[in-house]
Symmetry: D2
Subunit: 131 residues, 4 copies
Amino acid sequence: MLQTHPTPSGIDLGALASCIEACFECAFCCTACADACLAEDVVADMRFCIRQDLDCADVCVATGRILSRQTQPDWALMRWQVEACRTACQRCHDECAKHAGKHAHCKRCADNCSTCADACTRLLSAIDAVA
Amino acid sequence: MLQTHPTPSGIDLGALASCIEACFECAFCCTACADACLAEDVVADMRFCIRQDLDCADVCVATGRILSRQTQPDWALMRWQVEACRTACQRCHDECAKHAGKHAHCKRCADNCSTCADACTRLLSAIDAVA
Amino acid sequence: MLQTHPTPSGIDLGALASCIEACFECAFCCTACADACLAEDVVADMRFCIRQDLDCADVCVATGRILSRQTQPDWALMRWQVEACRTACQRCHDECAKHAGKHAHCKRCADNCSTCADACTRLLSAIDAVA
Amino acid sequence: MLQTHPTPSGIDLGALASCIEACFECAFCCTACADACLAEDVVADMRFCIRQDLDCADVCVATGRILSRQTQPDWALMRWQVEACRTACQRCHDECAKHAGKHAHCKRCADNCSTCADACTRLLSAIDAVA
């Protein structure tokens, strides 16, 4: 899809595509994990995990949408947003990882957050190369 | 991810997973197509396509998020939202299909919208089976 | 803001503006109510309320964004989305109203959901008048 | 609404409320401005403005939602996201301001972006006071 753009921005499309895909996948996982945490018997212990999940989902949706645009990108804005996304994914990973032994949804979510944080790191390097 | 939920809603998880995946993929494609249309020389001819793309992306994000939750689902709300999503995808497909010969992004977007509309149709049947 | 559009759609701008404003206000209230419910001692009793809040916030954001666009509106899509929004607001109101005596955030959220559902009803009439 | 939270985070609620309100208002204005730009005769001249509007709307929605949560806030994430929002609003203001003489929607949007950027700046100070 990204290769069909009439005026590509010059950024490494592989790094861009990986990060977009990771953002939307992570938005799904975090939304589903928050909901699964909510249904656990020990929901009172999952408050912080739910909050991190919800924040991470919101950041990932916004980041995925912004990255999907290649028309005259504003690299400064993109950098801030991808940094916010990396932070959200790292924090959400750290919290979900604490519950990974008990809850399979937290294990899956932690893995996805880690993948998305790594994709953000690679994209930040790709932004540096063109900005 | 959906199979890890502690209190599954009883809906066909295959139909649910397909529709969620299609919604997020369609949200990406429509966002990217709107942006690619914006960069075309003939942008004035792409106004309606851009508008449909933007609406469809918004509906798909909301639908994908709501479908990702399995805790005590409200089938009536889910049905309205999936109907809205199917309509958005059908209309966006119809408009993008008109430009598919000229613009590869419209061809890709039309295909994705069609896939998502079909996934919505299957999910509506799955909702009927449990609601 | 809506009056500055170069090609207005012909719909009653008062009804449109009220519904957009109600959607964004309701998205805020539902997000804040879900979070406040999550922090309550009796969080296990608030599961369904949190779920309804989260769904309602997602629907309201999408509806508010779609309604903010006046370029060649697709009335069929708009109608489905506003119906989904009305349903989400009604259901979220009904659940929040049950907790309104105990939790001030549920009282405030129920009131906002009711306002938004009414704004949706008025907008549906306005759509009927032009579609 | 924010005052009804059972476990307030300790941040200045006035600064928080102003920023949330500004984010959702700016999300509306940017969405409406992008759509109005799309309908202008000179749409080819408005490409960058539309792109900035769309990005700014996405960032504002995510920021408004995250700020609406007070349960165990992650100040580091909040800071990144508010910085991203301030940058998006500043850039969108700068672009809209160039068209403010010709298009009333760009004038209104520039004013709202400026208000939101200022609210972000004040909130960043409030975060510093508690983080």
